[in-house]
Amino acid sequence: MNLDRRTFIRGSALAGLLAVPVVGGCATGGGGGGNTAVTGKVTPDNPLGMAVDTPVKVYIFDGGYGSEYARSVHKPMLEGKHKGAKVDIQVTKEINKVLQPQFAGGTPPDVVDNDGDNKMDEGSLSGDGQLTDLTRLLDAPAWDVPGKKVGDLLDPSAKEFGTYNGKLVEVLYTLNSYGIWYSQKLFRERGWQVPKTWDEFVKLCQTIKGSGMAAYTYAGKYPQYQMEPMLTMAIKTGGLEVMKNIDNLEDGAWKAEPIKQAAAAWQEIGAKYLMEGTAGISHTESQTKQNNGQVAMLPCGSWIENEQKKSIPPGFDYGVLPVPSLTGSDKLPQTAIHSIPIGGFLVPAKAKNPGGGLEYLRAMLSKEGATRYSAMTASMTVVKDAIPEKQSPGLASTVQMHTAAGENAFSWRFEYWYKQLFDAVKSATNELMAGRMTPDAFCDQVQQKADQLKKDPSVKKYHR
């Protein structure tokens, strides 16, 4: 037993070798076990059968919208209505990491705000039977609108996008609209007109560049920010068919002419009007540069005003414009926008107090709950006509854009259904904007990935 120093060092080197992280560290949980559901008596006051004595455990994603709304709006609403009820709010930035083991162990909470870059995959969860069917919630009476059901108050998109495998499993709460953001104050001061057509947009870029300011930027580090207006433009030009073909993985969907045209159009912006250094910046950097007056326009979702609230200079006046129309013969009107409900709230099938989880969602989907959330986060919700009276400039502009779009608000699904394809489009977008890839090569490369995915039997397929 002569342990000399060298043997020891060698031994520890081997130990280090074995310590290289490998996925699967957490147990897969074996078979049964986990929570046993507790339910309360169904009464008109408690239509979803919440167990009042069992705390309702809620996990909130701590992202752009924070978690204050849960603590100061929805929790007190529920606790106020049901004497003795308790809502236990937990907050995390890493939904997947925190909740995946709880699902696998059979002890998930009652409500999960499944949001952020590290959210759980709803398709897999619902495929594995891990989520509660929310139809019962939609059929329950509305919280504070007599004579109406919860489902009557919802924007139709909420039902469409929360459905997986034919079941509504998720309440997508925040209604997010995409567009190109600018400072209304800056545009007023310089006398710049809000562009409606692509020609006007390009001319405006020219004018802005001439004034010594960068015209356009996006988060090069997260190229989905630029993928968004490019695809939106293609769909406005070619109609909803373009989008449906992409989502349904139709052969040659990505080689459609409108996609090529949109790619070529944006490549020109990339070559001539992109802010120096765009390729390497994050979304926060790009947005802060806009707040500081270094760049005039950038693409983003309507969460931007809330996200930037600490760095918006006084009187910045966020405004948003729909992606301009590329041709005079676009299939969709100029007011058409990409809009999608985001931030999915779900009730795990193995929740301890499933009725409590549903009741919490019912509180969220009330007029009061939605209006107060809207005021706190400068965002619209999927609850119809629940817009606060006093609106911030960005929210007012979003509401206006969304109202003008009316029926012409659309959204693709592939981004959520096929993450691999989404990643492929993202990286190709950066190559396109940097001029390293032609529009044709862009379409080819993405199409290739789509074909590969279509053939992969391990990837679950969806259809719309």
Binding site: V20, V22, T28, D121, G220, D423, E431
Partner: protein, 300 residues
């Protein structure tokens, strides 16, 4: 005999608990990863379906996987070469580069060189984001743009990004090996150097004839350590690079792909299969390093 046995029991007594913790939290997940690799587990269900070698078949047909392996290979060959070379060079300068011991100010250098090792990898990656920025805010590109030159796309050009990752890895790692080698060099008795000097050996000869052979064991160990660091690079790639492994997949490595498949695509079975392959690749690498570098050991 009895004394040896007592000593043995004494050592076992101390090692039992750490060994148990190690088995439960390190070894058992490994074994489990092997099992998961043969299933279609999505990460949340309590049951999994056995799919045989399907994950491995798909893996070997996946071009992303081979790209990642290629990037790992580049880091694996160049990382240790550069880091150990630099580490050895600095350590030599610090311990015996001057007339009497190290070069002037070697104590200060020692602290400076070791400093990056104290920072967490994520902080290093965030720091280098600013250093390598392509606009005027970049530490390197700022002055370049000021001089009227074109900025260099350290992280935004697919041809450069992997080299930038390698550079950051070297910067972060080298300090540890300087300390490791310095300590080992300090253990070499001064008399050997003195007698070599009397025999008329110059500094280069002393390094290659005396220092390096006496340090061989340490080098071997360092090589494996560094190889593992090069295999991992997860934090640096994930935080530093554009599009987490981009641009256009040019900095994807096995560890980022494992993470992506497991936690973004929910393909835990597939990701575990990658982990299993990574495990064997590292095992082979360690075997190769120990095999290639085997030499007569000089006992002091």
């Amino acid at each position: 005999m009895l004394a040896t046995r007592r000593k043995f029991l004494f050592i076992v007594g101390f090692l039992a608990l750490p060994a148990l913790i190690y088995v439960v939290y390190v070894i058992s997940p490994y074994v489990q990863a092997f099992q998961i690799a043969f299933t279609d587990w999505h990460g949340a269900s309590q049951t999994q379906n056995f799919v045989g070698f399907a994950n491995f078949e798909a893996l070997f047909a996946d071009s992303t996987f081979w790209h990642a392996i290629g990037h790992n290979a580049i880091l694996l060959v160049l990382g240790p070469l550069i880091v150990l070379g630099l580490g050895m060079f600095f350590a030599f300068l610090l311990t015996s580069g001057g007339r009497k011991g190290g070069v002037g100010g070697s104590k200060v250098y020692r602290v400076i060189i070791f400093l990056p090792q104290v920072l967490s990898l994520v902080i290093v990656a965030v720091l280098f984001q600013s250093v390598l920025k392509t606009d005027t805010g970049g530490m390197i590109n700022g002055p370049l743009i000021g001089l009227g030159a074109q900025p260099i796309g350290f992280l935004t050009s697919p041809d450069l990004a992997l080299w930038s990752v390698l550079g950051v890895l070297v910067w972060q790692q080298v300090g540890f090996y300087v300390v490791l080698f310095s300590a080992a060099m300090g253990n070499v008795p001064l008399e050997i150097y003195e007698s070599a000097r009397l025999d008329g050996a110059n500094r280069i000869q002393m390094f290659f004839r005396i220092t390096l052979p006496l340090l061989w064991d340490t080098v071997q160990t360092a090589w494996v350590y560094m190889g593992i660091a090069a295999f991992d690079v997860f934090a640096i790639v994930w935080v530093l690079t554009v599009d987490q492994g981009g641009p256009d997949g040019s900095t994807q490595v096995l560890s980022t792909e494992i993470y992506r498949n497991a936690f973004v695509y929910s393909k835990f079975g597939y990701a575990s299969a990658m982990g299993v392959v990574l495990f064997f690749v590292i095992l082979i690498f360690a075997g190769v390093v120990f095999g290639l570098t085997r030499r007569e050991r000089v006992e002091l």
